[in-house]
Structures are given as C-alpha cells and as structure tokens.
Symmetry: C2
Subunit: 400 residues, 2 copies
C-alpha cells in the first residue's frame, strides 16, 4: 500500500476524473477518464487470451500508431464475450469521448472491467461522458483509479519523480485488479502517465521489459482474463532532453518505471481476492529462464501451497512436491528451500529449524520463499498470495 496523499498523484499536462455512470450499484464510481493536454507517445501490453474483450481489440489496433491522448474506462461490465455488438459499443465509447474532448477518435483508448458476457450499457456511458470530461482536473487521478475498481479493497497508485538534466520528470501509475491475476496479466488494468519526452521505440522496449518482470510475474489464482491491459502515455511536457534507446537518460527512467510497476504489482497481489499474505517466491539455480519460471508458477499456483500459507503452516513438502511435478529432473538431494533466511529442506529431507523462528515467519504479512534448484544460475521471482475462505466466498457468487 502506498502512503502518498492524493495531491501527490499529479503529472504535469494530465487531467483525470472518475464518476458514477450508473453501471455499478447506486453511487459507486464506475467511469474513469484520463486526458493528456497534448497527444502523447503511447505503448501497451495486452492479454494473450484468445477471447479478447472488445476494448482490447480496439486498443491493440490503435496502439500501433504509437500515439494516444485519452483513456476512457468503465468498471462493472467487462464488455467481453459480447460479440460484434460489444465491438461496436467499444467504438461508441471512444467516439463519445473524442467528441467531448475535441480530439481525433483514434487517440482515445478504451478499457472495461467487470462481469463477462453481458451487453455493455453504453447509453449510460454516453450520458455520463459530458459531466465526466467537464469535471476533469489535474488532481483527478485518484478519482479515476476509484472508478476502475471492482473487487479491489484499496486503490493501487504509485508516483515517482526523477531529474533528467535540470528537468523534473514525473511518472504516475494506477492499477485495478484483484482476482484472476496470473501471468499475462489477468483482470488487470494499469495505466501509467508520464511527462517524459521519450522516443516511441525506447518507450515500447522499456515498457514491455517492465511488464514482463512485474505484471507478468505475479499470480493470485492462476487465471488470465480477457481484458488485461497495461498502457503508458508519455506527453513530453517535462521538456527533458529526449530519452532514446541508447541514451544514458534511459537508465533512470527505466529504474523509475520498474519501481512504479513493482509497487503496483505488490499492491495488486496483496489485494488479490481474499489474500491475507504476500509471498515473494524466488526460484534460483535453474538451468534456463523458462525452467525457473515454470517451477515458480507451479509452486505459486498450487492450491495446496496457497492454503498452507493461509493456515500459517510451514508445509515445505507441498512446495517441493509442486516443484517436482513438472518432469524437470531436479537433483533431489541438492535442492534447498528457505523461508526468509531459515532453511526448511535440504539433503532430500526436512531440516529441524527452531520452531519459534518458523512460527514467527509464518505470522508475517510478507514472506520470502527461496527455492534453490541447484542446477544452474537462472532465477525467476514471482509475487503470489495465499488462498483463503474469502477467495472462495468472493468467487462463488456473482459480483461486478
């Protein structure tokens, strides 16, 4: 969770707002608008699910231009599995926004999150866009975030600044996403706004790299959604020397971007549906990156591992069993498992660490788990959560 005040979520040249359009139950904010005063460089990463929601299809087409100026997003309805009508509704969303904002239609990106398979109440959006745009202001980012939330228990925002030359450059990110968080960015929307002046090819490269090791390295329940979208806009209003792929200014920008993405990620997992713990799992000693990743996901997605953490049970047996289930020929007697700095498994069997030390670790909100496969030098880090009664409760009932 972040600790900034609302007035700190501000990026020069951006206006935002979030209001209720009446899609969710009475009064809850469900329509968000982000607007850059000038057209911005834009990059995006989208779900790889075949069943892509209509707004994803629209955005994927538009992002190829490398330019965008506004993002209109609704919660309460995913506009997914809604057929041709859904696609037309996504275009309608964009059209009403572009008219209201007096910009080219192709500069509007759209997003939807919520229940799948119900027609989008696009008339409600049409009616609400005028007051939504009229109410935009430079401090409106938290309102936009609030309007994107579904089962989220708290807003996810992160903001950082760096100096490039004498110019201050700001980056703010907001995200929504609780359930369905797994590789390839399950029901997750993340929007990043910066006033950096950066070349589109540099922006594309650094954003893809950042998403790969943040949003694509977390798992709440192993499910991937039809709507996942991460977008970044860079409007250049900081007036810094242009950041290029090989310029030294890329390094501090990348660091800032990765820090913001990482903070959004951790908050997203911490707010995973029903999550009570944040588990940082590092698989190391793998022969290849892909091997490290596969083992990490097998452990992170294991319901037996997740329920053990929920129960405060240091059940290392479930972790090594999950790691061993992939057909990768692990050297059983060389594999080691640590919770924080305590070794729980080595030489093919459990160790006998001090019980009070293990109990203290299990009682923490954040637990680091390190699994050394002892075969090579590749590693993969993943954030995951536990599996609780609350997860079942949330997901066994309809919700928007």
């Amino acid at each position: 969770m972040n600790h900034m005040n609302s007035h700190e979520y501000y990026v020069p040249g951006y206006l935002a707002n979030g209001i209720s359009a009446g899609i969710k139950e009475a009064g809850r904010k469900d329509l968000a608008l982000i607007f850059s005063e000038v057209p911005a460089k834009a990059a995006g990463v989208f779900t790889t699910n075949c069943f892509k929601a209509a707004p994803v299809l629209v955005d994927m087409e538009r992002i190829s231009s490398g330019t965008a100026q506004a993002i209109l997003t609704n919660s309460g309805n995913a506009n997914a599995a809604t057929g041709d009508e859904g696609y037309r509704d996504a275009l309608t969303m964009s059209r009403v926004a572009s008219r209201q904002l007096h910009i080219a239609d192709e500069l509007v990106m759209v997003g939807s999150t919520g229940v799948i398979g119900h027609p989008l109440p696009v008339d409600k959006i049409e009616n609400a866009v005028e007051p939504l745009a009229a109410g935009m202001h430079s401090g409106g980012i938290p309102a936009a975030e609030e309007a994107m939330m579904t089962t989220d228990r708290f807003p996810k925002m992160s903001c950082r600044k760096i100096l490039i030359g004498s110019r201050e450059v700001t980056l703010c990110g907001i995200a929504k996403g609780a359930g369905m968080i797994q590789p390839n960015m399950a029901t997750m929307l993340a929007y990043l706004m910066t006033d950096a002046d950066i070349e589109i090819s540099a922006l594309n490269a650094v954003f893809k790299e950042g998403v790969a090791q943040s949003f694509n390295a977390i798992s709440v329940d192993g499910c991937m959604s039809t709507n996942d979208t991460a977008l970044i806009l860079a409007n250049g209003m900081a007036g810094n020397r242009t950041i290029r792929r090989r310029s030294r200014e890329l390094t501090p920008f990348r660091e800032m971007l990765f820090a913001v993405l990482n903070e959004l990620c951790r908050d997203m997992v911490r707010d995973g549906e029903g999550a009570t713990k944040l588990i940082e799992l590092v698989v190391e000693g793998a022969r290849t990156d892909s091997e490290a990743r596969r083992v990490a996901y097998a452990v992170a997605n294991s319901n037996l591992v997740k329920t053990a953490f929920y129960g405060g049970d240091p059940n290392w047996g479930r972790i090594i069993s999950a790691a061993g289930s992939l057909g990768i020929p692990l050297p059983v007697k060389a594999v080691k498992l640590f919770f924080d700095d305590v070794c729980l498994f080595s030489a093919g069997q459990g160790t006998t660490p001090p019980a009070d030390r293990v109990a203290a670790i299990m009682a923490q909100d954040d637990i680091q788990v390190r699994l050394d496969l002892a075969m090579g030098n590749k590693r993969f880090r993943i954030y995951t959560s536990d599996l609780s009664f609350e997860y079942v409760k949330i997901n066994a009932h309809y919700h928007t």
Copy 2:
C-alpha cells in the same frame, strides 16, 4: 459411490486385512495388507514427481520383475522427503511383511500415504504386522481399504466379473485419494486384484492404457503427490485360457478393467477434498490429443471455474477465458460451450437459454460440460470437482 455389500468384495486367491497400528490417532485403521496365495503377475504406474516417496522408489525397482505377492500399506505418514532413513524404513516394512508371510522379500510391494516429511514410525508397523497377517481373510478387502484412507469421506471400491470361456474372472479395485488429485495421479493409491490368468506384457499394456484415461484424467486441485501408486496383481487362479496381447479375451478383460478404473476415478473426484459436485468435462474439436488435454486441464484446474460451480453460477465466461488463456488460436466465433444439452456460448457470445433449465443443471450433483473448439476431431475427457470452503478448511490445517 458403489452399492455392493462387503461380501461382494472378494477375489479368489486373495486375503486382506486392515488394522490400527497406532500411526493415526487412537483406534483408526492405518495399516493394510493384501496377499495373494500364489505369486501374481504385477504391473504398476507411479508418480512422475521428482520427489518420489521412499515406498515408490522401492516399488518401482521391484515391479520390473513383473511379479508380486503382497502389498503392505500404511496411512497417516507418507514416508516422503524422509531421505535415506525413509528408504531404509520402506525396506523394513517390506522385510517384516515378507518374514511374516514366508515369501521372498522382493515379492512385497509397499505403500504409504499421509503427511510428508516426518520420519515413519516403523516400529509401530513392525509390531502390528503379526496380528495384521494373522487376521487376513478372503473378505478383508474393505478393511484394507479403510486402513488406507486419510481425508477420504467414503471408501472407494469397485468389483466386476466376466466370463472367459467357462471361467468366471473377478477384478476388484480399491483406492484412496482425496486431495492432490491431478494428472499423473496425485496422493492416490489404487490397488487392483484379479484372478485372471494374463501374460505380463498384456497386463502391463492394458493397465498403462487404463490408468492414462482414468487416474491420469482427473483433477481435484491440480497438485501431484510424491506417493501416487497404482498396482495390479493377477494371480491366474481363475484358470481361464491365458489372456495374451493379441487374444480376443483381452477385450472383455480390458472393458472390465476400464469400468473398475472409471468407477474408482469418479468416486475419487466426488470425494475430492471439499468437493460438492462431480464435473465431467469433455473438450472436443481439438486438432491434437495434446491440445484437447491442455485445454481440459486449463479449464478443470481454474479456481475461478471451480468456485463458480461451487456457487451454482453458470459462469461460462470463466470457462472460455480459461480455454483461451493457453495461446492456442481458438476460432472464437465457432467455439461452442454446453452444460448438459444446453448451449451457453456460441458465435463469440453468450446465448440466452431458459433460466430455469440452467438453474436445474447447476443444482445437479453431476454436471456434464462440453466445450467444442471447432478446429479438429480430437477429444479429451476429464473429471473434476468444485472448489469449496471445505477445501480451504481441510488444507489450511495440518492433517494426517
């Protein structure tokens, strides 16, 4: 669940028993012995987990001879991740049984199920083997089954007979396994006994084939255990004409075997930890067997799909989203999804079936789900269960 009486679980030439050795809490049966009066042909299929429990390592070595005469199994302790000491304990189990039964040590198979990573209390087993063997009788199969159970809510037994020529041939199977049921046979022990006279090569082939489409096509929680073992003994005492790989007698024997395996499977899923529903998922229209299997597992293992079934929510969106998450290029508008005979998704969007009909299906204990990928003619069937509060409750606490 089966409906035979105990006296029907009888196979000529086999004795069995199950008693309490004091491994589980007071009085619960935890030690099972199955004994064939003559050495039997034997085949086995084992977990592919790297972290194989000690009894699995022993059995894998011994099964290569193609002969066995007894199976000694304890519950309450898995003898897994117990290092060299665990391996010695497994050998000790076998030795005390072989001495008691006056047979060669190599003819004894061993099994363990329960908690991982605790030393096996092998002295309790040593003390209990004498009364266990002394109490064996031809009607002892249900007692043996009871002694293998851990979190199982009911025993899983299936028995069938066929005629080969004028000879009656009997096959009985018993199984344990509730949690951790996923491909490659998670914490699952299944022992089959037949009096058929069958060549070892035919027995090996037909048993592997049967396990592949039964125990390796079910999923409760996507986890695979260190102990999974399926064994079949065939002692030839029926006196039938020997069943060979190419003889016509193989067909009725295979049918009987598959029927017994299928019944054990369905009961295993129905008794999955916390399961309230049995879902038979058929993925058809795939281009390859492996594609059908991958999609089936992605859907069957999705926590969002499982919780929806628990909640009685006909959430087809979660099913198609899970199917679409694998990177397989599904023809979105041709894919169809059925619950029983009701189509819920086609032409890229939800249909509008009669609500009362859908509600009636969701209220059933058994639901058939059919997903047509519309790309080819390959199919895969899997049994799975829902995900309930009870699953979390069982697995968030220690249990034996």
